[in-house]
Symmetry: C2
Subunit: 310 residues, 2 copies
């Protein structure tokens, strides 16, 4: 089974850019013909509109990018039928040769975390059977519960050649509230550490357990493009950790900010854009598919250019 980071590097190389397209469907931004076709009678109708829109986006971006990241919240907000749509979109993305990151920011302890993890990756294991559920290539998870709650996710990911991205330095302003708290120095430490430094060290220790040929691990980190200085520091400290970088585009992070997430060899990060790719047009736009394709090409070009000129 090929290592997650090697699959990721190969996919990025084949498409020529490290852009990840986030699937964050929002009713108020959907093209009007899609809204009118499905109507707003029920959440099932909303889910169907999301499915039509996202399926078309997948077909448009599949030749252009390596990775897509469905945001679970918007599908869960449509209830069970939304989850059925999420499941079909993940399958469609795989059929189109895309790698998938399920952005669900899950975590829980012991067998509960195991249930989330198995569902995300290889499948729910009951007695001697394994039932596929989401079959994502990677999952975002939250570190607050500590190492023993992250372990089942790492093990499940490894069994299916997948990866996890642990929240490290998130792109929102409040991300600093707890993540940036300064820790009391331990014996022998020269500089004070922040909480996210410590979380980062822990993530690195997992990444080092299982490196791919590209010298990157299968345990990555979510690091927002909106904190450029911290990004530079983290990139230096965690050379074997793949960064999933949100906050590029609509949230204010520039291509140059995002470029700091990459190692000198140009590997080590994928950069997500959601709204900037999905909705760079008003709902009345009739040729929205061309706008999505153009926005994808432009974002990809901005990233490759920023990487070439840094």
């Amino acid at each position: 089974m090929e290592h997650f980071a090697d699959r990721l590097c190969a996919a990025v190389r084949s498409k020529g850019n490290p852009l990840c397209v986030g699937l964050d469907p929002r009713w108020e931004s959907l093209p009007e013909p899609i809204r009118q076709r499905h109507g707003l009678e029920s959440l099932d109708a909303v889910a169907a509109a999301y499915e039509e829109f996202c399926s078309r986006v997948l077909e448009i971006v599949a030749p252009l990018v390596a990775v897509v990241k469905p945001q679970s919240a918007f599908f869960e907000a449509c209830g069970p039928e939304g989850m059925a749509v999420l499941q079909r979109l993940l399958r469609r993305a795989r059929e189109l040769g895309l790698l998938t990151i399920l952005d669900a920011k899950r975590n829980d302890i012991a067998s509960t975390g195991q249930a989330y993890a198995d569902a995300a990756f290889g499948g729910t294991r009951i007695a001697t059977k394994t039932f596929p559920v989401w079959q994502a290539d990677a999952l975002t998870i939250n570190p607050y519960l500590g190492a023993d709650a992250i372990e089942p996710f790492v093990q499940s990911a490894r069994r299916s050649g997948g990866g996890v991205f642990v929240l490290l330095k998130t792109s929102n302003p409040g991300g600093a509230d707890f993540q940036d708290l300064t820790l009391a120095p331990e014996a022998g430490e020269r500089a004070p550490h922040k909480l996210y430094h410590r979380v980062g060290e822990t993530i690195r220790s997992w990444a080092l357990q299982n490196l791919g040929l590209c010298d990157l691990g299968d345990v990555g980190a979510v690091v927002g493009a909106t904190y450029p200085e911290e990004m530079v520091w983290l990139r230096q400290q965690l050379p074997e950790v793949v960064f999933l970088v949100p906050g590029f585009g609509a949230q204010g992070g520039s291509a140059a900010d995002a470029a700091a997430a990459f190692r000198p060899d140009g590997l080590g990060a994928i950069v997500n854009s959601s709204r900037g790719i999905l909705f760079p047009y008003p709902p009345s736009e009739t040729d929205w598919e061309a706008k999505v394709a153009n926005a994808t090409r432009q974002a990809a070009a901005a990233l490759t250019s920023a990487l070439a000129t840094r």
Copy 2:
């Protein structure tokens, strides 16, 4: 609209105990007749078995306890049909007069967190419509993303008279990894603080924004019964914060440990038991319903006794 904490206090008073029954269905522990009736042909069959079992448990415990806590992970592990079962069980619990805590440990930033929050409480808001999704009375959430990511959950909960329980000191051994890190003292601080102290202070500041008549807020905290000393400290420091206490019973916390979660007036906490209530018998047990009822009565009595004698 009645305040969440007042609804909780009234419900606990009417049942005479602060026990919460966790709905964590596990195939390998289900009574054999239920397993045989549904079989293991698909996840839909597993979800149907979970629905039959949990529906019966709800009927058994409804006269005995005030609150139930479905664990989202086990339903998500059954895919979309599992989520449909979760939705129906939440509805059934409400019909039976039970308060519901959806244990999903969600969080995300900005409009994404808002989508999770609306779905959990009043419903998904699209254009001028509101569509009910989970309609829980409370939701567990994770604090790592900071205050601005918790805010939408608090606001959504308040709009529907609900509450949130923020992970504070979790019951697993690894909970200490990050939660117990010592922070560098700030100016004027006498004693060193740990991360969970700081998270606790933040939770308290939210709770104080909106107190019920019982002098408790609608923003609570998850504090494991497996850390008795920390429980005592937190109870003193956070008098207006309702504690949701896991770790009682199967995870090793005693009734006396759990009793430390309550204020001197006997309010301020609900104590969860999952496995100890659902599965205190082998799968071959034919009279499992009586065992569930007995285990519920015994756990409730152990808690009320520990509260009376502390």
